[in-house]
């Protein structure tokens, strides 16, 4: 068990900063997820911790130990790779035992640990097989098993579910979460999939272009995104953004989007006061845009007229694509809705869930 600390870590490839000034403290037993689009530096961050990439600047600690120059094998970590990286010429048993054999663990102990891990993952019947004879899901379990038997201080996982089909991925997601609870070890997990990040992480680090955008719990990332990028990245379908100006008329503050304007709830007006007359980015998640015929209770409604362009029936909801003169946006409507493509209709914005960002800095206005 150990904590992990990134201290002003940089990784440069030539002139390019793959990771810039990354500082994170991961507590013992935490499940931290690095998430971001491809090329954001999340894998590089993980690989620096694993010792597979050198650090250009800064320090990384595992527990209290500075590991900048410690080779991977002495860092007491285990890693699950995206491709699983199982040794093709070894059986499942040998794949799992390989790391222990190299560490000269006694035979009985190896046997005990491999069997125990195989039991946890339900792969006892596969121990004599070669990786080639396994399905994708089974290979993924073996890769996890190979990490478990090592009983490391920190588990590193680099997109371990991205080669699985959608259904298996959901199942494996919960299994890894369970495993984290059961082992009580620090997990550091890399993914590009915000759903995985939201469902598994105790905290999430959102990266973009090598820079940490926000480090927070899943709920906080969703409710209080720190900037436009995080707001747009977390949540699916993505948040709707409108370029707008903040104005005041008759003592009421409005978000003016040119072709429509919506009133800002009174409790927020004072926060936004410094931005009156300035250009801002107004954000509204699709799940907070409702069908006026089926408004949920307890919202602060504001009607926005528009034209319905496309609808996508999902069963439990209808994704409704609206267009106004200058904007398009998506609402997640109640499945009972009777929207018709091509007709004009209003959408109800729940203004109590509005987001407002500074247009220049793209940071949330709070």
């Amino acid at each position: 068990m150990a904590s992990v600390t990134y201290e002003h870590v940089y990784k440069r490839f030539g002139d390019v900063n793959a990771v810039a000034d990354l500082s994170i403290e991961v507590a013992d037993k935490e499940f931290l997820v690095f998430v971001g689009p491809s090329g954001c530096g999340k894998s590089t961050s993980l690989r620096m911790l694993a010792g597979l990439e050198e650090i250009s600047e800064g320090n990384i600690y595992i527990g209290d130990r500075l590991v900048n120059d410690v080779p991977p094998k002495d860092r007491d970590i285990a890693m699950v790779f995206q491709s699983y990286a199982l040794y093709p010429h070894m059986t499942v048993y040998d794949n799992m035992a390989f790391g222990l054999k190299l560490r000269k663990v006694p035979k009985q102990e190896i046997d005990r640990r491999v069997k125990e891990a195989a039991g946890i993952l339900g792969i006892e019947h596969l121990l004599d097989r070669k990786p080639k004879q396994l399905s994708g899901g089974q290979r993924q379990r073996v890769a996890v098993g190979r990490a478990i038997v090592r009983e490391p201080n920190v588990f590193l996982m680099d997109e371990p579910l991205s080669n699985l089909d959608a259904k298996l991925r959901v199942q494996a997601r919960t299994e890894i979460s369970k495993l984290h609870l059961r082992l009580g070890t620090t997990f550091i997990y890399v993914t590009h999939d915000q759903t995985e990040a939201m469902t598994m992480g105790t905290r999430i680090a959102v990266l973009k272009d090598g820079i940490l955008q926000q480090l927070d719990t899943p709920q906080n990332l969703y409710d209080r995104p720190g900037n436009v990028f995080v707001a747009g990245f977390i949540g699916s379908p993505a948040m709707n953004f409108f370029e707008a100006t903040l104005i005041q008329e008759n003592g009421i503050t409005y978000v003016d989007c040119k072709d429509f304007r919506v009133a800002v709830p009174e409790d927020r007006a004072s926060t936004y006061k410094p931005y009156l007359g300035k250009e801002v980015v107004f954000g509204m998640r699709p799940e907070h845009i409702h069908d006026p015929d089926f408004p949920p209770p307890g919202i602060t409604p504001a009607l926005v007229p528009g034209k319905i362009e496309v609808t996508e029936l999902m069963g439990n909801e209808v994704l409704t694509y609206f267009a106004t003169d200058n904007h398009t946006f998506i609402g997640r409507f109640d499945p009972r809705t009777k929207v018709v493509i091509g007709t004009s209709k209003s959408a109800t914005f729940d203004m109590s869930r509005m987001h407002l960002f500074d247009k220049q800095t793209e940071k949330a206005i709070r």
């Binding site: 694993a50 970590i77 995206q82 990286a85 040794y87 010429h89 390989f98 190979r146």
Partner: protein, 387 residues
């Protein structure tokens, strides 16, 4: 219904089988026969023509290639006009049949004939006699030649040397190839280093032998040594000598010849290993590092097993080379000084000593030795493709 159609199929089988067998053999033999006849006509025509050499060459190429193509086209369209079932039965043989027929003519029959000759004394089977008369003639010695092959002193020496060739030649070529591949892979001069090591592959065995003759060149003591090896040895105060002819250390003087093949083949091995090593996924090596393996353990526990198929293929290919080795020995020593190998013995017996029967027996023994390695090698190729 299904049962009925199956039944009908089966009831037709013997007749259909016979017919298709005849048709298949016919195609296999007729196509090359016609092709040869047409080519022969072309040859006669061109031989008597007065055209310029360039024109004759051009016509010959067009005639040869075009003629064969048209022949295949005619037979193929003929087969395609048949009922579908017959097209399926015969079409492969339009294309594969001629190849099999020609291979039989050029390879199988000569091999059988060599075996036949090997059952006779030095003059071979007496001409003009029937099969039975040949067997009952005095020239027929049965398997006596084979007994000689495995008992004659020079032959035993040749076998011993060939084993040395196979063991040292192939093993060291593979070992050096592997080491070069791994080192070149990590070097910043990778391309240059690999080109230099691969370069000898472009030299023929005879050419390489002549180059190494210069390296081993010997001048009596006191004179300046012009051979590379001897001048090095002399400069360190050693005794210069004609290394491959160093009879006191027989059989180890063979190693001076084997080095030449290693020099030639290590580059070949290196190129294939290098390609195989590059095929190892980086994540696999990284997994090994995280699992706690050092670079040597990664090499032996992960890299070598991963490229095992390539290693075996290269190894068996070089084994076949060294089993058949002839040129190097013939050029360097002519088989003297205890360096004979099977192939040089075969050549000496057949063509120098004029002992047809004995020479043929040696050839057959060599053939039989190579076949199992060949089969293993081909299987390995097949496996790799499946992998």
């Amino acid at each position: 219904m299904d049962f009925l159609s199956k039944f009908r199929e089966r009831s037709q089988t013997p007749m259909v089988r016979l017919l298709s067998l005849i048709a298949r053999v016919l195609f296999a033999v007729a196509i090359p026969a016609i092709a040869f006849y047409v080519l022969y006509l072309g040859f006669l025509f061109l031989r008597d023509s007065e055209a310029s050499r360039g024109t004759i060459a051009l016509v010959a190429i067009v005639w040869g290639v075009g003629g064969v193509a048209i022949l295949f086209w005619i037979f193929n369209s003929f087969v395609e006009r048949m009922p579908a079932a017959w097209t399926a039965r015969l079409q492969p043989f339009v294309f594969v049949g001629p190849a099999i027929a020609i291979l039989t003519w050029y390879l199988t029959l000569p091999a059988l004939r060599t075996f036949w000759i090997s059952c006779f004394d030095r003059n071979g089977p007496p001409a003009g006699l029937s099969f039975v008369e040949q067997i009952s003639s005095n020239s027929f010695v049965g398997l006596d030649n084979y007994v000689a092959v495995f008992t004659e002193r020079l032959m035993l020496e040749a076998f011993r040397n060939n084993i040395m060739w196979v063991v040292f030649g192939s093993t060291l070529s593979v070992a050096f190839g592997l080491v070069f591949a791994v080192l070149a892979d990590r070097s910043s001069y990778e391309k240059i280093a690999k080109s230099l090591i691969f370069l000898p592959m472009a030299i023929s065995f005879v050419g390489a032998s002549i180059i190494w003759n210069f390296i081993y060149e010997y001048r009596p003591a006191g004179q300046p040594q012009v051979g590379l090896l001897n001048s090095i040895v002399a400069s360190f105060g050693g005794v210069p000598r004609a290394w491959p002819q160093w009879v006191e250390i027989i059989p180890w003087n063979n190693l001076f010849l084997i080095v030449i093949v290693i020099w030639l083949q290590a580059g070949f091995a290196m190129v294939l290993f290098s390609a195989a090593l590059k095929g190892i996924p980086e994540e696999l090596i990284e997994a090994g590092r995280i699992d706690g393996a050092n670079e040597i353990q990664i090499f032996f526990n992960i890299m070598i097993p991963y490229i095992q198929g390539t290693i075996i293929t290269v190894w068996t290919t070089i084994i076949i080379f060294t089993l058949k080795i002839f040129d190097v020995v013939w050029v360097m020593t002519g088989g003297q000084f205890g360096t004979h190998v099977i192939a040089t013995q075969f050549y000496r017996q057949s063509f120098t000593a004029g002992n047809k029967g004995f020479g043929s027996a040696i050839a057959i023994v060599l053939l039989i030795t190579v076949i199992p390695v060949m089969i293993y090698n081909l299987r390995q190729f097949g496996k790799q493709e499946a992998f």
